[in-house]
Symmetry: C2
Subunit: 223 residues, 2 copies
DNA sequence: CGCCGACTTGACATTAATCAAATGTAGTGG
DNA sequence: CCACTACATTTGATTAATGTCAAGTCGGCG
């Protein structure tokens, strides 16, 4: 991220111990006091809020290289639960120390602002998805987004494992598990994807992008 | 916000000229280069993205005292349009200068982080709204949210003017204009609100909060 | 007064949810 | 290795919520 070696070292010094988080366990939970941000070293997480009615709403899926906990800065309490989708590992970053470091490393500060801002735009994209896309479009957008993130990490963008259940996908996309299952079946039938359990292959990423963009109509008939 | 007088003065120095933005005109538009944040002094705005398909998705309504433009930091380009809903006035805040100031006023930096984080949690709440609330619940949540924000500004929390059209509300909530109209009529019929054009009065804010929270079932019959 | 855009209302269509089974899959203990 | 259980997923039939289409009605403004 364009830091000088000396600065990197200072950053290293405040980055706390690594912490393993076992599958299905919480890294933090809503209302926990906020002290650390967490950089994901390894694995995948989901974040979700609990509604007043006791249901959950998944607000995001995070993978290695992404930062967890930025929503907690505003109130010094976490606003959602963060659960590991598989055995994972994070680095604790004590936020107070990080803020102190900012005054000596402006580049780091700037970079941090970009990450917060990026989270804001990410969420705006989800709002767009939930607010005006139809089921198939949402799901295609979801797949395309995952593909792009894996590509950015050097993994295959056409073949990967879904780390989350159908139910979690549905919850995230504002759909039911049955809808997700039907969408998978339909895209499979149309030859756009190959699916085996949670292993997925995008056979025609271009057309998936078109569906996500709303350019391709998609077969509404057999939902 | 807890700054010393001397610091406040420094902040004042970088806060640029005021700028009037006439109703229905853009403060900035998507892909404009990012140079300033904007503090709303007066008036109301909406922000929206344009979908690949050319439709718009309203991502928020902002009022005096709120900050516009934080989503642009990540890419140095604005990610949405910001349009004045009425004749309004903003202060330009040159972001580069603001970041310089942070190194000398840590309190200001901390406050800024809280504002960015607050925007993140705001959007998470919208995701929750779009992802698992029903139409009536969404609309009640919308009204309750406006009420709370007006209350925080010293205005009546039970009587205010909607600065946005039914269509804009619907777009924001992921509903059609007809649905919004029906919801208004229904809540009026049930004695929960009084409506005259864009003037609205919350007659039973407590029950509205209950509907928003999902505690109160709401009459599904006569949609 | 009359037009225009914003809003309301009604009838109908559609999407995705719900309900209900059936099927598959991963573990577990024998 | 296999039977057995628990859970996740798929599939089908039906329904409910909300969208769409089509008239109106209202209110402000020239």
């Amino acid at each position: 991220m364009g830091l000088a070696d000396a600065d990197l070292e200072k950053l290293d010094q405040i980055i706390g111990r690594r912490r393993k988080v076992r599958k299905d366990t919480l890294l933090y939970r809503m209302d926990d006091p906020f002290t650390n941000l967490y950089a994901i070293r390894l694995g995948h997480f989901k974040t979700y809020q609990i509604t007043p009615g006791g249901e959950q709403q998944v607000t995001g899926f995070q993978m290695a290289g992404e930062l967890l906990g930025m929503d907690a800065i505003s109130t010094d309490r976490h606003h959602c639960d963060a659960m590991a989708l598989e055995d994972s590992e994070v680095c604790e970053i004590p936020f107070l120390q990080l803020e102190e470091l900012f005054s000596t490393i402006p580049t780091l500060l700037h970079h941090f602002h970009r990450m917060m801002s990026r989270e804001i735009t990410r969420e705006q994209n989800v709002m767009l998805l939930l607010g005006n896309m139809r089921a198939e479009q949402r799901f295609a957008a979801f797949l395309v987004n995952l593909a792009a993130r894996y590509a950015a990490r050097g993994y295959s963008s056409t073949q990967f494992q879904l780390r989350m259940s159908r139910e979690e996908i549905g919850n995230y996309l504002g759909l039911t598990i049955e809808s997700i299952s039907r969408l998978l079946s339909r895209l499979k039938r149309q030859g756009l994807i190959r699916v085996a359990n949670r292993e997925i292959e995008l056979l025609q990423p271009e057309r998936l992008r078109a569906i996500a963009a709303g350019t391709e109509p998609g077969d509404p008939g057999s939902f």
